[in-house]
Symmetry: C2
Amino acid sequence: MIVEILSTGDELLTGQVVDTNSTWLMDRLWDLGVMVRRKTLVADDRADLVAAIRETAARAELVVMSGGMGPTEDDLTAECVAAVLGVPLELHESSLRVIEERFRKFGRTMTPNNRKQAMFPRGAEVIPNRFGTAPGFAVKVARGEVVCLPGVPLEFKGLADEWVLPRLAARLGDVPAARVLKLFGVPESHADDAMRPVMDDPANAGVRWGYRAHWPEVHVKWTVPGPDAAARADRIRDAVRAIFGEAVWGEAKEELPELVVARLAARGERVALAESCTGGLLAELVTRVPGASNVIDLGVVAYANAMKERLLGVPAGVLAVEGAVSEPVARALAEGARRVGGAAWGVGITGIAGPTGGTPEKPVGTVHVALASAAGTVHVERQYRGDRERIRRQAAYEALNLLRLALR
Amino acid sequence: MIVEILSTGDELLTGQVVDTNSTWLMDRLWDLGVMVRRKTLVADDRADLVAAIRETAARAELVVMSGGMGPTEDDLTAECVAAVLGVPLELHESSLRVIEERFRKFGRTMTPNNRKQAMFPRGAEVIPNRFGTAPGFAVKVARGEVVCLPGVPLEFKGLADEWVLPRLAARLGDVPAARVLKLFGVPESHADDAMRPVMDDPANAGVRWGYRAHWPEVHVKWTVPGPDAAARADRIRDAVRAIFGEAVWGEAKEELPELVVARLAARGERVALAESCTGGLLAELVTRVPGASNVIDLGVVAYANAMKERLLGVPAGVLAVEGAVSEPVARALAEGARRVGGAAWGVGITGIAGPTGGTPEKPVGTVHVALASAAGTVHVERQYRGDRERIRRQAAYEALNLLRLALR
């Protein structure tokens, strides 16, 4: 099945806006076992758009278009599709009524231009849009179908999820089963080596494999075709879980901060944070989760030694003898956060994020993370590579991972 | 001048990797006054790639290709360009020696495949690559030139900056002058209205205008063509600054957190932060800047009222009477942070980031930000729209903006 994507919009060709719709749709299509054959991006220009529609429609069985569906003069999609088909634009009465109703509801004044959003090529199937003003539409062409969706990401994704993808799945018949396992602490190259036995297993012939670096995580993904796809995909999941063990922390749409917050909430426990090199990144990741206030009362960004000492009770002697970036200080930070915050769990992070501040003994990237609880304090030391942002992010995820493991 | 971009790579068509090279290059080309005419993305497939090269080269005066330059079987760019030209691939001896030297230097073993990276279509101009292994190359075609660059972003951008863009600028002759002003606190629609007199000024005919929503900032951008472009562009800058006054915080590549850190460092002063609804985001933004340790010792994420009271001295009575989301609490947080951190400046942020927790009197999006100093405490109340992430980000930037204004 040949699928192409065609996006239109001057703002996409001047680097002002990234065409996230395409990447999102490619990912969804890949889950259906379809690799997009070609993706084209053209300006809001009649001649260019007509040429691009004609070319893509001649090659592909399904063309998904994004953009050019607004009310302004630059919005040319319906007009150009009609030109390619050699049919006129016609007013779609019920769409017009929906648009009018929408304007009334939001108390806005409808301009004559908005009427344009209810004009479609004769014979088009209109795709109602409950996410915004402009409906989408689909037309038959020589080899298949051209589906035109609004470019606003919320609307594009909404209509693709509700209309395009289910119909495509039905048209494809056997949809492959897609699975994702999310790993932490396994570099992508190691993951690939470790996966070899499963990938080379003759029982898994025809399976498509992929790695996605969701840094600092690695996601392993596979799609299985055929009639018993789901069962085969699940057997592979068991095999992959057996290979990576505890390094697998989640599946599908799970996110590590959400998982940690949910586990704490389920236990009715709280965590308090003491961050040095991560500078509030861990607190930000945790509190970004809605409902985080049920599991966190306190985070301290103790950037200076005096603050580690005064607010969290890290002994001055330990700071002087061991240095701020050391196991004892990480432990004292975790225990101090737990005590001051009155929480079941305390996290301490100290390290050298760079670009300066490294020494031969403690180079940039040296990080100590500790987790304190009633059962005692655990600690890991890491040596990360990369720039300041990568080191900080990896350190914050290391702490989330320690919590995840402790909260099993 | 018709410029097209052609990218190749299966990983780009399955949604695994976003083609950031194209967006970056489009932005750079726009600064030269060139809007890319079409962008095409094809798989690592001989027939598709040959067809796409042939089509783009027939339309464009310059085609910039990205990807397919690696050592593996899937890397087909040189082979397909040669096929389109009807010429053989030839070994480029000096490139081979550079590649061999590179492998020696990094102590890696060179495989026969890497030899492939020194093979180019006969007659191609080789573009040395000091950022990685694979050189780029350029060939003449009917209407102009096809330039092929490696897809690794660091290498693509490096070679585009060193080779493609300067040559294009020379070829274009008069390069327009591009300017950016960065605003905070002005919605994009207001910016557009306020800019009307400048945009409609006959003296500014031929100028191209653009807005970039770098949320929560708005960037106003213009490119001026013609022989006295720079002087005209600077005159517009003065006019735009006069319109927006204090709302203009920076130009070009400046970033607000960097600016605030630099101004604090220049004065030898420090800031201490007390965050509630932003949950560490402000601390994270400040400490992300290298050298932030010179200007920040302490951030407290006081998510619970007890922590606001215990660590920052916010009076229990004020919390009880006014509620945690109130002007007096924001002021007490700022003053408490300043006192506890022993800093010249103290920031306090409290608000309702949602999705729950709003009331009719204090709906989701209500935020109070205060800035304390020896001169007293200033305060702003805001009512933001949007989801949790947008509210938090806007609140953190509001605090940075208060600091920026106070540090003039």
